[in-house]
Symmetry: C2
Subunit: 439 residues, 2 copies
C-alpha cells in the first residue's frame, strides 16, 4: 500500500461497548418510506393508466425513458425475439445461464406443495386444493440494475408453479435493450415482454390496458416509484415484499481466509451505496486481519467507489464475546443473507430463527447463491426475514379450502354451529345450519 | 304473505342478457380504498404512537372508546382472566366452542410444512428451513362485529405454527367486554390481551410501546381505520390480506331445497349491508322457487333489515345456460365462499381455479365452515382468491433457504457464477466465487 491509500472507513463495533445496542440500531435503521410528493406523482400516473390505458402508458414511457413510441405495439417483445437473444449470446454465457436456470428449476420443483384431503369417520371430507395463478407480472428494472439473474429468479418459480401466462415488464431508457435479460426471459419461460417501467408499468399490470393483460400478482424489485406503486395497487393484485437495500451478515470463527471474507463483504457492498455488509467474529485478531485485507484489496476493485461509500456508511466489523452472542446478533439482525463461515455450520442451524438465506461453511460464497446454487436470490431485507420468506413457488400459487360434509357430519356440525351462531346473534347462520340437522 | 310485504329487491340477471357482463362488473365492483382524510388521521395516530408509545395509545383509546384509563396497565388482560371467562360460560357454549377449537386445530395441523433438504452428488446440500414467527398480533374488532369464532380462526393457526407469543388486541367501546371473545382467546392459546383498537392498536403492535411488545405480523379484520393502518405499517411488520365485505356464490343444479338455499344466502347477507350473496343456476324454475322462498322467509329473520338492504344492493339471482357457464362465472367472480349445491360436486373441482373455500354438496352449509368444520373462515374477498389463500399455518411461519456447498460443488458453481457475475459487471461477486474454484 502506498501512503495515499485512504482507509475503508468501515465501522468497528464491539458488543462489550456501552453504546453497542444504540450504535447497532442506528446502523441497521432503514426507512424506505416514500414521501408525499412521490406518492402524489405515483397516484397521478396510476389514475391516468386506469382511465386511459395504453395511451397513458405510452405517454409516460416516452417521457421517462426518453422514447418516441407512437403506440404500445412498439413496446412489445414476443417469444421469438427472446429466443433470438438467447441464440445470439456468446457460448460461455449461454451455457452458464442455462446451467443456472436448470439448477434454479430443480430446487424450486421441491417447493411444489400437493393438494391434500382427509376423510372423517362419518364420511365428511376436508382438504386443501392448490392451484397456480392465472397470470403473473415480473418487474425487471432497466438501466444499471438490469440483471439477467433476477429474471431467472423471479420467473422460474412462476413457471414451476404452473402459472398460465408470465408477463415481464422492463424499461429501456433511451431504447437500450439488454440481450442477456431477454435471453434469461426466454430460458425462464416468460411469454411476453413489454418494454415499459415505473409506476406506469405497475398500473398497466394491475388494471390491464388494451394491450397489457391484467395480472394476478406483480413481483420484482424496482425504484421508489415502483415500490410506491406496488404498495398502492396491493389488494387489487398480489405483490411480493417491498425490498430495501441488499445486506449480508457474515459470521466467522476465525478459520476462513481473510481475503475470502473481505471479497464476500465487497460482493455485497458493490451493489449500491445503501447496501450493507457486516462481519461478526469473536476472534479479534481475525477481525484485524480481515480489515487489513479490506484495505489491501479495496484499490483492486472495479466498483471501488461504490464499495467504499457503502462500507463507510453502512458496513461494520463487530467483535462479539462468543458464539452465543453471535447467534443473538443473527436473530437481532434477521439478515437477508447469512454466511456461516464456521466449522460445523449445521450445529448453528437450530438456533438461527431469522434469515432469508443461510450460506454454510467456508466454501459457500454468497455470490454462488446469487446466480446458480438453486435457491432464490429474492430474499426478505431490512429485518423482514422475521416474518417473510424467499420468493418461491408458493408465491405463485394459492390454496382453496375444501369442505364436503356427509349428511351425518352436517347434522353433527350443525348442532355446534347453531350454538355458536346464536352466541354471535347471527341467527340466519344458525338456521342455515339447523336445516341440515337430522332428528 | 300478507299484502304489505315488500319484495326483496334482489337483482335478477341472465347470462343471455346483452348487458350481462357490464351488470356483473357493476355488481362485483368494490372500492375499499380509504380517502385522503382517513389516511391523514391514521398517519397522525401512527406517528403519535411511534413517538410517545403507551401515552399516545391510552389517549386515543380513551377518546375513541369513551374510556377513562389512567394508564396501559388498566388495558391489559392476562391468561387467568381469559380462563375465568371460559370457565364462566354456560355449558352448551363452552362445549360448542371447545369442539370448534379442536376441529380447527386438527385441520390446521395438516397444514404444517416440513423443513427439507437434499444432497447432490458432490456433497452440496440444498434445502429449506421452516420456522415460526416469534410473535403474532391478532386484531379482533369490538362492538357489533366481536366474534369469538374469529378469535379461534386467527389465533389457532398461529398457535399450531408454533408462534412463541400471541398478542391479541380488542377494543372495548364504553368498557364492554365480550366474555365469549375472551373465552375463545383462552382456548386458542392467546398469551395476552390488550383492550385497545383502531389505528392506535395497529401502531402499538407494529412499533411496540413500553407495554405492548412489537409483533412480527398483524392479522385480523377491522374497520377502515384499521385497514388503512395495516397498509401503512406493511413492511415494518407482516400483515394478512386487507379484507373487503364478505361474499358467497351458491351454484345450484336445482336439486336442493329452495328454503335451504334462501337461508344460505341470508346467512351471508346478514353480516352487513355490504355483504354479497349470489345464486347461480341454469334451472330457471328453481331460481323462481328460491326467490319465492326468499320472499317467504325474509319476514322471519331477526336481522331482516340488514338482509334486505344487502340483497337489494349487492345480491343477485343469475340464470345461466348450462354447467359450463356456471364454471366460467365461478372463475370470473373468484368468490370468497363457493357453495356447490349440486350432485357430484367432486366433478367440478378440477375446473374451479379461484375460490377461497369450496362448500360441496347440499348438506355443506357455508355456516358450518364459519364455525366448526375445521378450515379457516378468514378467506380472500373481492376476487382476491385469484392470488391469495385462506389464513393458515403458513401465514405464521417463514422459510430460510439453506445452501451448503462442498469444496467440489463450490468450485463447479464458482465457474458458472463467475461468468454470470462478469456479465452483470459485478466483479467482486465474480472474484468472491473464483476464490472457491480449485485448479
Amino acid at each position: 500500500m502506498n501512503e495515499t491509500t485512504v482507509t475503508s472507513g468501515i465501522a468497528r463495533l464491539a458488543t462489550a461497548d456501552a453504546d453497542f445496542a444504540e450504535r447497532l440500531d442506528h446502523l441497521l435503521a432503514w426507512e424506505g418510506v416514500s414521501d408525499a410528493e412521490v406518492q402524489a406523482r405515483v397516484a397521478e400516473i396510476l389514475a391516468a393508466v386506469k382511465a386511459r390505458g395504453d395511451a397513458a402508458v405510452v405517454e409516460a414511457t416516452n417521457r421517462f425513458d426518453r422514447l418516441a413510441a407512437s403506440g404500445m405495439q412498439e413496446l412489445i417483445l414476443t417469444a421469438p425475439r427472446l429466443r433470438q437473444a438467447y441464440d445470439g449470446l456468446p457460448e460461455a454465457q449461454r451455457e452458464a445461464l442455462a446451467q443456472a436456470a436448470e439448477r434454479i428449476r430443480l430446487y424450486h420443483e421441491r417447493q411444489k406443495p400437493e393438494s391434500w384431503h382427509y376423510t372423517e369417520a362419518d364420511g365428511t371430507v376436508l382438504g386443501q386444493q392448490v392451484a397456480p395463478l392465472d397470470r403473473a407480472g415480473i418487474y425487471v428494472p432497466g438501466g444499471k440494475a438490469a440483471y439477467p439473474s433476477s429474471v431467472l429468479m423471479n420467473a422460474i418459480p412462476a413457471h414451476v408453479a404452473g402459472v398460465r401466462e408470465i408477463i415481464m415488464v422492463v424499461p429501456t431508457p433511451d431504447g437500450i435493450l439488454n440481450e442477456l435479460v431477454l435471453a434469461a426471459a426466454h430460458l425462464a419461460g416468460v411469454d411476453r415482454v413489454f418494454t415499459i417501467g415505473g409506476a406506469q408499468a405497475v398500473g398497466a399490470l394491475a388494471y390491464g390496458t388494451e394491450s397489457v393483460p391484467r395480472v394476478d400478482k406483480i413481483v420484482g424489485p424496482g425504484n421508489i416509484y415502483v415500490a410506491t406503486a406496488k404498495r398502492a395497487v396491493f389488494g387489487q393484485v398480489g405483490i411480493d415484499m417491498i425490498a430495501g437495500p441488499s445486506e449480508i451478515l457474515v459470521v466467522s470463527d476465525g478459520g476462513t481466509d481473510p481475503e475470502w471474507l473481505a471479497m464476500d463483504l465487497f460482493s455485497q457492498a458493490e451493489h449500491d451505496e445503501d447496501a450493507q455488509a457486516i462481519l461478526v467474529s469473536w476472534d479479534t485478531e481475525h477481525l484485524a486481519a480481515v480489515e487489513a485485507a479490506i484495505e489491501r484489496l479495496l484499490p483492486t476493485l472495479e466498483r471501488e467507489a461504490i464499495v467504499r461509500e457503502s462500507l463507510a456508511r453502512r458496513g461494520a466489523l463487530i467483535a462479539c464475546r462468543d458464539r452465543a452472542e453471535a447467534v443473538s446478533l443473527i436473530n437481532r439482525i434477521a439478515p437477508e443473507h447469512l454466511e456461516l463461515s464456521v466449522a460445523n455450520p449445521e450445529g448453528w442451524l437450530p438456533e438461527v430463527r431469522h434469515a432469508g438465506a443461510i450460506f454454510m461453511g467456508r466454501h459457500t460464497a454468497e455470490a454462488l447463491g446469487d446466480y446458480c446454487a438453486g435457491p432464490n436470490h429474492v430474499l426478505p431485507t431490512s429485518g423482514t426475514a422475521r416474518f417473510s420468506s424467499p420468493l418461491g413457488v408458493y408465491d405463485f400459487q394459492k390454496r382453496s379450502s375444501i369442505i364436503h360434509c356427509s349428511a351425518e357430519g352436517a347434522s353433527q356440525l350443525g348442532r355446534v354451529a347453531s350454538v355458536l351462531a346464536r352466541g354471535e346473534s347471527l341467527t340466519a347462520h344458525a338456521r342455515s345450519a339447523e336445516y341440515r340437522i337430522r332428528d
